[in-house]
């Protein structure tokens, strides 16, 4: 229950961070550590190098651009949750953040870390997808902007390359109704199923290996949830229907 051996790096600039990621083999970015450190403690992850981005002041901003709001990679979930700009322009994000873990975890966990981690039950991944947001990834090879629809690949798997640093996420502003609802065994647990809505767009989470866009009129079409001891496929489909009804009424 202690981390395996690794070499620790605390770069002082984004440039330094991406050159470390570009030159070191088996390096991992350490952001809030709220997913990565448990994986290290359980030895489910054994990176040779950790590149700690917590000292990168360049990435601590929340700011308006291109008709939406950008959130830097070191912005904590707790900061984004109470940010006035996000509350006004992208109210779905603060709503989603309140469902992520517990306040103490959100004090350290980052918005971009949740996206990079790509947990299938992640509220923030579903929010990025339903809002049609984007992320920016930088490496020594250059910078690329990836649309949410192209970003998530499978369980804890995104198209991010090992040498890429996700520098910020961008969420378009919304004017219409937004809502998010989930069902979990206990408050703060990962959701068994969830639904996020922005206007007439709907995304589901916790029901497949990645967040999915769905048709509000027929949300369970094509879904084949896996069978788990605590949640049968039928129960999950039932949850989806109830949760979708709830968010579409909001």
């Amino acid at each position: 229950m202690k981390p395996p051996v690794f070499e620790y790096h605390a770069p002082a600039s984004v440039g330094e961070a991406i050159s470390l990621l570009g030159s070191l083999a088996e390096a991992k970015v350490l952001a809030g550590g709220q997913s990565l450190v448990p994986l290290l403690n359980f030895r489910l992850a054994r990176p040779a190098h950790l590149v700690d981005i917590n000292r990168l002041a360049e990435l601590t901003k929340i700011y308006e651009r291109d008709g939406g709001v950008a959130v830097g990679a070191v912005v904590r979930q707790a900061e984004a949750e109470v940010d006035p700009l996000l509350r006004e322009r992208c109210p779905l994000l603060p709503l989603a953040l309140r469902l992520v873990a517990h306040p103490v975890i959100r004090n350290r966990g980052t918005v971009c870390g949740s996206l990079a981690h790509a947990d299938p039950a992640s509220e923030l991944c579903a929010a990025l997808l339903v809002l049609d947001g984007r992320v920016t990834a930088r490496s020594q090879r250059g910078e690329r902007v990836i649309a949410a629809a192209d970003f998530f690949r499978g369980t804890m798997d995104s198209v991010l390359e090992p040498d890429e640093l996700l520098t910020e996420a961008w969420f378009p502003a919304t004017a219409g109704p937004v809502a998010i609802a989930e069902e979990a065994r206990r408050h703060g647990d990962f959701a068994l199923a969830g639904a996020a809505r922005a206007g007439d767009r709907l995304a589901l989470f916790g029901v497949a290996t990645r967040p999915l866009l769905a048709d509000p009129a027929d949300p369970t079409r094509g879904l084949e949830p896996s069978s788990e001891p605590e949640c049968s496929p039928d129960f999950r489909l039932h949850l989806v229907k109830v949760l979708v009804e709830r968010v579409m009424q909001a």
């Binding site: 229950m1 202690k2 981390p3 395996p4 051996v5 690794f6 070499e7 620790y8 605390a10 350490l30 550590g33 709220q34 450190v37 448990p38 403690n41 359980f42 950790l50 700690d52 917590n54 707790a78 873990a101 517990h102 306040p103 103490v104 975890i105 004090n107 350290r108 408050h187 703060g188």
Partner: protein
């Protein structure tokens, strides 16, 4: 790094979790370790004034930061901190294993919500597990701590 107002040496081994650094290197065993994956909350300390899980931080990450642990709440012979006093009065603990985490989470919570509602209290401590009390007395303790802190 500063721990409870005292300058402390930096950790040298990057594998050292902050919780272990506090307990084994500084001898501050008030910070407890239960699960080491962020679930139980008994390792909660204040990091620059905000509650965090010390088991999910590397000790090297604390360089230049200010930490507070349960030992810093009151001096040995001095009166208890209002939050400690409230947990004592309301029987907010039995075995006490979870208590340091509840105390630190409550101290930070009451700074932000000096007069909290029951729902706010429930949300604030939802991330801390207790196997003994059944939580009713802990919720009562937090409410009492708010009263005592407002009087102090």
């Amino acid at each position: 790094m500063i721990v409870n107002g005292i300058e402390r040496p930096e950790a040298s081994d990057p594998r050292r979790l902050l919780s272990d650094y506090l307990r084994h290197d500084l001898g501050l065993t008030g910070t407890h370790v239960g699960c080491e994956h962020g679930v139980c909350g008994c390792c909660t300390i204040l990091f620059d004034g905000r509650p965090v899980r010390s088991c999910l931080l590397l000790a090297v990450q604390a360089r230049g930061h200010e930490l507070a642990t349960v030992e810093g709440l009151a001096q040995p012979e001095a009166p208890m901190h209002p939050v400690q006093q409230a947990f004592k009065e309301c029987h907010g603990l039995q075995c006490g294993f979870c208590t340091p985490g509840f105390l630190m989470a409550t101290v930070a919570f009451l700074r932000e919500f000096p007069d909290p509602s029951d729902a706010e209290i429930a949300d604030a401590i939802a991330g801390n597990l207790c196997r003994c009390t059944g939580y009713a007395n802990i919720r009562r303790s937090v409410r009492r701590a708010a009263e005592l802190s407002r009087q102090a």
